[in-house]
């Protein structure tokens, strides 16, 4: 009998642990520490470690009638939301998305129906407010099935604007304009991505530079460095202005220009190489280096806001073999040139 009671108590105790009994408190102020955290996120420093504790937060002095906003437990997402709600008394329900932003988490389902219903339950949201409406960011929609959430939790899901900064305007009429409903990918958005793109290839870049330093071929390693920067930084910047639709062909075009600027022009101006030798050298460098830029361009698809799986898949099947053939034939050609001692060319 006693043991049974103990077991029961333990079970209740465990349940209480899972419940959030009191709401956390937050404000709309972005502190210096927050800004430092945002900077670290942007350079890709410990990308998985910028988290907020999941649960229900009070912003200002919310009442039983106050609006509820839902967010992800990623500092950039949460901070964008709370800083956009200056002077508004409300609740913020933070889902456990493992430190991933709303859109990406929705894509893999962690910002999803299950987690939302679960979080509504353990925060006892239905006891805290009288109304039954929650406002979700529009980009949470790929993971959340609104009618299922309503069926299971009683809460009606309302999709707000894409960007939290549009919320004050949205709240005036509770309707989003066409502009609020669209994702963008303007120059600023693309610039913000560059440090993370570079971070992904940082190791290779360091290896390239150090190999150059140790083999005293600094110029050559700088050229390769330039090619990598073209693919990682210049490509995202120039993306909408490069003609052609495919990312790979865009990359090939940009790669050709880069090879001429980085390899051929210095050869001509400094090395004094002219005629067929220059043409042949340019050809070999293009065969090796343009596929590198094109590959980096193709890799950038995952960072954009508009590429579809079908489109990217088709590009991979269509272009990866071509890029591989180009690269390998370029390497083979340069080895032949090296072995036959035509040092003038390379």
């Amino acid at each position: 009998m006693e043991s049974k009671l103990k077991f029961k108590n333990k079970k209740i105790g465990m349940k209480a642990e899972n419940m959030q009994t009191e709401s956390y408190v937050c404000d709309s102020i972005i502190t210096l520490a927050n800004r430092w955290d945002h900077f670290l996120v942007r350079i890709g420093w410990r990308r998985n470690h910028h988290r907020v504790k999941p649960g229900l937060y009070k912003l200002g002095n919310p009442t039983q009638e106050s609006t509820i906003f839902v967010s992800a437990n990623y500092t950039l997402s949460f901070d964008a939301l709370r800083s956009s709600l200056k002077g508004i008394d409300c609740y913020i329900l933070v889902l456990d998305t493992k430190g991933i932003n709303v859109w990406c988490a929705a894509g893999k389902g962690s910002f999803g129906t299950e987690e939302l219903v679960h979080r509504i339950e353990i925060t006892k949201l239905s006891n805290i407010v009288d109304h039954r409406t929650i406002i979700l960011p529009q980009l949470g929609a790929p993971g959340v099935c609104a009618h299922e959430v309503r069926k299971r939790s009683g809460f009606k899901v309302e999709y707000g604007p894409v960007r939290a900064s549009d919320l004050p305007k949205y709240l005036e009429t509770r309707t989003a304009t066409t502009e609020m409903r669209r994702v963008r990918f303007n120059l600023r958005d693309r610039l913000e991505l560059i440090p993370v793109e570079i971070n992904a290839f940082l190791f290779i870049m360091i290896v390239v530079i150090f190999t150059g330093l140790f083999t005293k071929e600094i110029w050559k390693s700088l050229q390769i460095f330039g090619i990598l920067i073209t693919g990682l930084a210049l490509f995202p910047i120039l993306l909408p202005w490069i003609p052609t639709r495919d990312f790979t062909t865009k990359g090939l075009l940009l790669g050709c220009v880069a090879v001429i600027m980085i390899y051929s022009l210095p050869s001509y101006l400094i090395g004094g190489i002219v005629g067929w030798v220059l043409v042949f050298e340019t050809l070999i460098n293009m065969l090796i280096m343009t596929p590198v830029v094109a590959f980096l361009a193709l890799n950038f698809t995952g960072s954009t806001t508009f590429t579809s799986r079908t489109g990217v898949k088709r590009e991979i099947f269509k272009y990866i073999p071509i890029l591989a053939v180009m690269f390998i034939s370029g390497i083979v050609l340069s080895v032949i040139v090296y072995l036959t001692n035509m040092e003038v060319i390379i």
């Binding site: 994702v183 193709l298 995952g302 579809s308 799986r309 489109g311 990217v312 088709r314």
Partner: protein, 99 residues
């Protein structure tokens, strides 16, 4: 003239798998609300596709359509994820832990 254009567009393979059955639509407006690229627009009696090629297969419309009028094979449009999956480094073509 018009058939020529039609033939030309038919030749170009669509870059997405979006399918929509307007006869099932109850005109609730959900698809046009959740779509980040303005593919759908609320019509008089049913939603209509106004910008088919802009679809990025995020799957939001399908998931939020209560009458299953929309079908799309959703997934991430990320070459990196697909290449890693093809090389068996990652099990599925999805984002990893960090993105």
């Amino acid at each position: 003239m018009s058939t020529k254009i039609l033939k030309k567009t038919a030749k170009k393979k669509p870059v997405n798998t979006l399918e929509y059955k307007p006869e099932l639509c109850i005109n609730c407006g959900m698809c046009s609300a959740v779509c980040p690229h303005g593919v759908f627009k609320s019509g008089k009696d049913a939603a209509k596709i106004v910008s088919f090629d802009a679809c990025m297969e995020c799957g939001a419309c399908q998931l939020n359509c209560s009458v299953n009028a929309i079908k799309v094979d959703s997934g991430v449009g990320c070459a990196n994820a697909m290449i890693l999956a093809a090389l068996k480094i990652r099990k599925k073509a999805t984002c990893g832990e960090i993105c």
